[in-house]
Symmetry: C2
Subunit: 308 residues, 2 copies
């Protein structure tokens, strides 16, 4: 038994005008609740420090850059790192990262129980578009404000387990889970900001969108025999609703904890990393069953090529 | 609208003693029912002509070979091909194939409406084991009796759509759907013989096993924006229960038809191939969103390699 008590710290909406200091106060409150529930690890959402700014069209680079962090920790987030270290709690959260070279990424970090950053991931699968789209009900400009992640899908040893991260739209791509599964991942954490409305199909409906999110995470967990923790930023941000549905999924693909609200809400589950062993040594024993000689299109071509 | 009316022809148990001629009679009855319901395509299960013989330990090669077909069509199956051609119905079913060179595969074929075989697939992901396993509640000797398929995951034009096949355990591997998705597949058909009991985890239970099967197929459909039709051989074969749960899944990942029994049962749905277009041109527009530079482990390594 290698138990990690995991807190999924769903966050309610962050309005455009809400400063990072106020957001970090809310994260600290969730952290205190997690400490009270003896969590070893707390998972916060994607772009946890600000509103989901890629919905806004901006042309002024200084206005854009104001949403980005140039260092981590920084003044606004230092209290979170301090309290995590004091309480011996590992944390992971997402933020917009601007590098010293001026590159922009949608990033998440992972700390150990001593508050040191031991892992960084940069979102690979950026959804949306890069030009103003007059056809959409609202904009989704991740392809404008970020470049695709350049770090791949690394896995780290933390809390006596193999842990990896992805972010939001990454969770819909089976390649993501498999890249980490091939490194023996036992726990994948991810945050998301998913609009409740499909900007290109307004009648799709929330229920379908929650189903797609959960379907992707449960399949990824089952097919790689790993825990998956998906944590939303939810609720109404300046008139733009984000869906909730934060879940913890076991290595058998079953949801074992689920958020009930669209606000700040902690879901908790004691996750046994040894529960991964059965799947990894039987039906999904990759070494015995995978046939890479028949997978070549997956890495040799990006888009669809129909037969001649 | 490119509508294909699809019949999923689930088959009840086939006992070890049941001859192929009797099985083909049952298949013909299902075909007649499908014709009455105006089906364009009828999907039969994996190893549709015999009992699921890989549960039996056999050492005599002649005894083994008796379960295999050396040509297709052959005397036993000719009536099925004839009636499919007469009624203008495309069919697909699975059988054990022995080639002229003496190679053994778990195979499925696909015909056009004129009764000509236009596609052949050989199962790539063989589950189970190749030696007698004293630890298991019963044997699952696909790795003994078959070699892994050597044809990859081809896609064919049929009924004005891009169609592909896989077989049984293949459906649990996201690489399978993606290989076909990268060829623009719009309809994937598969048959399965899945024991109701996990031979290595007897208390897993039928409900979990049906969930895993459905999870894999719905995720594969959603993530590649294609129809998936999964058809079981079900019921009690000489004391060995097989699960049912045949389903038709739409390109949004929703089950639109589901078998209710563990016997011979036809499920029917009118499937619009154009329903694939939305997913293929938005969230799963591979050319725009996939990042193959980060997928290299998927084709460069078979088993797990944990970080240094």
């Amino acid at each position: 038994m290698r138990e990690i008590v995991i807190g999924g710290a769903q966050m309610g909406p962050i309005q455009k005008a809400e400063p990072r200091t106020a957001v970090v106060e809310r994260m600290l409150a969730l952290l205190e609740q997690a400490v009270a529930e003896k969590c070893d690890l707390v998972v916060f959402p994607e772009l946890a420090l600000t509103t989901f700014f890629p919905r806004w069209w901006m042309e002024d680079q200084a206005e854009i850059d104001a949403w980005f962090e140039t260092e981590m920790p920084n003044a606004a987030t230092q209290p979170l790192f301090d309290r995590a270290r004091e309480t011996g709690t590992a944390i992971t959260f997402g933020y917009a990262e601007k590098t010293p070279e001026g590159r922009h990424f949608n990033t998440s970090i992972l700390t150990d129980k001593q508050g040191a950053i031991i892992g960084k991931y940069r979102k690979v699968h950026l959804p949306g578009h890069s030009e103003y789209d007059t056809e959409r009900a609202f904009q989704h400009l991740e392809k404008k404000y970020f470049e695709p992640g350049d770090l791949g899908f690394p896995v780290w040893r933390n809390l006596d387990a193999w842990m990896g991260m992805c972010i939001c739209n990454d969770r819909r791509w089976p390649e993501v889970y498999r890249e980490m599964g091939l490194q023996g991942v036992e726990l994948i954490t991810l945050g998301y900001n998913t609009p409740s409305v499909n900007s290109q199909l307004s009648d799709e409906g929330l229920e379908k969108r929650l189903y797609h999110s959960e379907l992707s995470m449960t399949a990824g967990a089952y097919q790689n025999a790993c825990w998956v923790v998906g944590v939303a930023k939810a609720g109404d941000e300046d008139g733009h609703p984000l869906m909730g549905g934060s879940i913890i999924v076991d290595p058998d693909g079953f949801v074992v904890a689920r958020a009930q609200t669209e606000g700040d809400e902690l879901i908790v589950h004691a996750c046994d990393m040894d529960a991964c062993n059965f799947g990894k040594t039987t039906i999904f024993d990759f070494a015995r069953h995978r046939r890479i000689e028949h997978y070549s299109r997956i890495t040799s071509q990006t888009g669809v090529v129909t037969p001649e």
